[in-house]
């Protein structure tokens, strides 16, 4: 048995023997993301997403590998598109799933923050248009393949250093081809609250690709204004009761006006429609909001209002949005906006603290390396 175990251990591909971890990027509920480089072969930059390993005695009993890892791997394996993050490899090490993916230097959130805090000037129309077009291109690919992303937000939109958009984080994505249960039964709450579509806020049981389009609309607006358009306060869930997001709905109708029956005929059928009565009437103020951002394109406003359409049936689809006059107007969208415009942003900051922490999580590595070797040189000897 001991021999067998040793043999198994030898055969196992270890993440650290195949990839050199350069730094720690970020962490979330799912786990951590690292930047890495393969030890052999072409020198490309990669991102390694490490899902939290199984741990005993956690508050919520785990049920094997997480559903989000399962979805992300299952979907990413089959998706290949310029504007979708590419999955290179999946490894199992240390009882944790490691996903090796394309590395992207920026994400939309960090770029927008750089504009607000450092440059203090808005993004140019060309950049906004190019990024939006690519985002729509990626989303339309997903929708054409019957996949809902369900968590589009700036932080999940990766951008390479030349300005190519990669839609990432498919942890909530799912195929909607054959839901044998209403989608609502699977995940009660989807999409980050600021980007959540009105039908979801009103508790709809069935929803469509239109929920992603609403998020795209919110992201478009955020690029124009450099702040979230509907920045509501999330009401936390209590006693497993899904709360009505009053504040978020209020933010939406403040800008878009109170929806009328003509605008959204099926609104009355929504489970939480009764809640709508508590709000006072607002007129549609999107035009004023748009003018306030300092952007002038008439077609841009048109596209924004068709993305932020109350009725999901009437909301523009990704495919139609790609053909919108906004993209046919000068300046035309380009494939590598940063490269062509010679724009550079500060590179992702990598922290080493967490890397050290990660090292201590891999005590087995030091056993393999030669005695006496220390720090990074020890890492290099493990091949």
């Amino acid at each position: 048995m001991e021999n067998y175990k040793r043999k198994r251990e030898k055969q196992r591909v270890r993440v650290r023997s195949k990839y050199e971890i350069i730094g720690f990027i970020s962490s979330g509920t799912y786990g951590r993301v690292y930047k890495a480089r393969p030890r052999e072969g072409p020198q490309v930059e990669l991102a390694i997403k490490k899902f939290k390993p199984e741990r005993e005695g956690e508050a919520r009993p785990s049920s094997g590998i997480s559903q989000s890892a399962c979805r992300e791997i299952g979907l990413c394996r089959e998706l290949h598109h310029e504007n979708i993050v590419e999955l290179c490899e999946v490894l199992m090490d240390d009882n944790a799933i490691h996903m090796v993916m394309d590395y992207a230097e920026f994400d939309l959130l960090s770029i927008m923050q750089h504009h607000t805090h450092h440059l203090r000037k808005p993004m140019t129309e060309l950049v906004i248009k190019s990024l939006l077009w690519q985002l729509l291109n990626g989303v339309s690919y997903l929708h054409a393949n019957l996949i809902l992303q369900r968590d589009l937000k700036p932080a999940n939109i990766m951008i390479t250093s030349s300005g190519v958009v990669k839609v990432g984080d498919m942890g909530l994505a799912r195929v909607f081809r054959r839901p044998f249960q209403p989608l609502y039964n699977g995940d009660k709450v989807v999409v980050t609250v600021w980007y959540r579509a009105p039908e979801l806020l009103l508790g709809t049981r069935h929803y469509t690709t239109a929920v992603d389009m609403w998020s795209v609309g919110c992201i478009f607006a955020e690029m124009l204004a450099l702040r979230p358009i509907f920045k509501g306060d999330e009401i936390k869930m209590e006693k497993k009761q899904i709360p009505f997001q009053r504040n978020q709905v209020n933010r939406i109708i403040e800008v878009l006006g109170t929806p009328s029956k003509e605008q959204w005929p099926t609104m009355e059928l929504m489970p939480d429609y009764a809640q709508m009565k508590q709000f006072r009437n607002y007129p549609n103020a999107l035009k004023a909001w748009f003018t306030n951002t300092g952007h002038k394109s008439e077609t841009g406003l048109q596209l924004l209002s068709s993305l932020l359409e109350y009725d999901p049936e009437r909301r523009i689809t990704a495919e139609d949005a790609l053909d919108h006059p906004y993209f046919r107007e000068e300046p035309r969208p380009v494939r590598h906006p940063f490269l062509e415009q010679n724009i550079s942003y500060p590179r992702r900051r990598l922290t080493l603290d967490d890397l050290c922490d990660a090292k201590s999580q891999h005590p087995k590595i030091s056993q393999h390396s030669e005695a006496g070797a220390s720090g990074s040189s020890a890492m290099n000897t493990v091949v």
Partner: protein
């Protein structure tokens, strides 16, 4: 390699098991899957996906080295996630114990925890052998 009829000559278990035995064990595994899925009132898709995973696994690993019931249980667990038809690990392990013990409920309740641990471990083994193709 595709399997046609009862041709298991290329199966990893071919050295240890006769084709008839292999077929028998595979059948028992699939039966187990269907029983568990039915007991939990999950969708038929889950059973189908689990059976595909099960056969794929045993084209890479021998039936003599991994118990067919354990792997069948792990296949249901994974398939429930793939097909978005979740049941808690608790429910799945209890159903596995119940079916494995042919309906002896008291004994099943006792061995549920063991099943939980087994399923979690074998799910990973299953995933690795299926190369995370789901």
């Amino acid at each position: 390699p595709s399997q046609s009829g009862s041709d298991y000559s290329t199966s990893p278990a071919a050295k240890m098991l006769s084709a008839a035995d292999e077929q028998d064990l595979r059948l028992r595994g699939c039966n187990f899957i269907h029983n568990v899925v039915q007991r939990l009132q999950m969708h038929q898709f889950v059973a189908s996906t689990a059976c595909v995973l099960f056969h794929r696994f045993y084209m890479r690993q021998s039936l003599a080295s991994y118990h067919h019931y354990q792997m069948a249980g792990a296949c249901v667990l994974l398939a429930s996630k793939i097909e978005e038809n979740r049941r808690s690990l608790n429910e799945i392990s209890l159903a596995c114990a119940y079916v494995a013990l042919k309906g002896r409920a008291k004994e099943a309740a006792k061995s549920q925890e063991t099943w939980e641990r087994l399923l979690k471990r074998q799910e990973i083994v299953l995933l690795q052998n299926c190369c995370f193709d789901m």
